[in-house]
């Protein structure tokens, strides 16, 4: 008996099947990665805890009313001014800060002056970046949009200061350092992590919020 060749399988419809699957995945999936402004909420305090007494000059007060108007340090301001005002406030360095008890040398010592600040050293503004508190007060009917803009501007002010400090200390901006650290997921670079931590301690992010 003569051996017959098996007939060739028709693969013409293979493309159709693949297209069908492709379209299914195009429709049911999304590509966007969620991103946003990260904040840490304060821990819940028992009712008996007395609020600490803080000097008024160490508080930078941003109030947003129900018409989305901004009042910063009792003056009417616009959104564009927030960043510069926040930079001036945090970077003022007019007095002694809290003791930094993180990197050995300063441990247990009294508070020191801010040697890395480039501000005006104004007596009526903040003492030290680690004492400078940014307070955001909002009304219940304040729009979320303006609230996010203000939060973003405050973050931008801090990023600016951290970048400037990191550039001076390590010749690399803070943003670049964080990015590099993210890329080093497999072999983390401990010295880089310490540098980032140090910058964060030198310009900490202290924000309080109040909603009426």
């Amino acid at each position: 008996m003569a051996r017959r060749d098996t007939p060739e399988i028709n693969a013409g419809s293979m493309a159709d099947i693949a297209f069908l699957l492709l379209i299914f995945f195009l429709v049911t999936t999304t590509m966007d990665i969620d991103a946003g402004i990260s904040r840490r909420l304060p821990e819940k305090q028992p009712d008996t805890v007395e609020p600490p007494i803080i000097k008024k000059r160490n508080i930078f007060e941003i109030s947003i009313n129900r018409n989305d108007d901004l009042l910063i340090e009792d003056e009417y301001r616009t959104v564009d001014e927030v960043k510069q005002l926040a930079i001036d406030f945090i970077d003022n360095g007019g007095g002694l800060g809290n003791a930094i008890a993180l990197f050995g040398e300063d441990e247990g010592k009294e508070g020191t002056e801010c040697t890395w600040c480039e501000g005006k050293k104004d007596e009526s503004s903040s003492d030290h970046p680690n004492k400078a508190i940014i307070s955001i007060k909002t009304d219940r009917s304040t729009t979320y949009g303006i609230y996010i803009i203000v939060q973003n501007e405050v973050s931008a002010a801090l990023t600016f200061l951290r970048n400037r400090l990191a550039k001076k200390e390590y010749g690399q901006t803070y943003t670049e350092m964080v990015k590099e650290d993210k890329n080093n997921k497999i072999n983390p670079d401990q010295s880089l992590k310490d540098k980032i931590k140090k910058i964060k301690v030198m310009y900490p992010e202290i924000i309080t919020e109040q909603n009426n």
Partner: protein
């Protein structure tokens, strides 16, 4: 003469054998690069823009709360207030607690500290609603919060 006639016999059919391969390649790309759409959003959700943003890479450790005005408000009502959406349902602030507890259940305890609540709020919703949610989150010690935004700047 016959030499030229031979060439006019018509074009040979294009070989489409590699077409499935190309399509499969595309298919695999999309399967790898995208994630399944989990919920359909029932509220208006026009996110604000911001520049100082951080990406949330761990989808597993993120629980999303949508906030925004209803897509179609009942007739005659112009300002119906903000709605809160948890999973696929419209819920109230009180349900946020259970929602976070449920989310915690599926996560091993050593990773629970890294869990983030992503608040996806419409640009026109009010801070009052957001602050109610944040109060609830504080009560149950879910302190990491991210306000979802898009990349860009929209200063007025």
């Amino acid at each position: 003469m016959s030499k030229f006639k031979k060439n006019k016999k018509g074009l040979p059919p294009i070989n489409t054998a590699s077409l499935p391969d190309i399509v499969f390649m595309l298919l695999f790309f999309f399967m790898v690069a995208t994630t399944m759409r989990e919920t359909s959003v029932l509220v208006k959700n026009d996110l604000p823009n911001a520049t100082e943003i951080k990406k949330l890479s761990e989808k597993r450790l993120t629980s999303t709360i949508y906030v925004g005005p209803p897509i179609s408000s009942p007739e005659g009502v112009t300002d119906a207030g903000d709605l809160i959406q948890l999973n696929d349902k419209i819920a109230s602030v009180k349900d946020v607690r259970n929602f976070i507890y449920m989310a915690r259940e599926g996560v091993p305890s050593e990773e629970q500290g890294a869990m983030t609540t992503l608040i996806k709020s419409d640009i026109n919703s009010t801070v009052g609603t957001i602050s109610d949610i944040k109060k609830e989150l504080r009560e149950i010690n879910a302190l990491k919060v991210t306000y979802a935004t898009r990349q860009g700047s929209d200063k007025k």
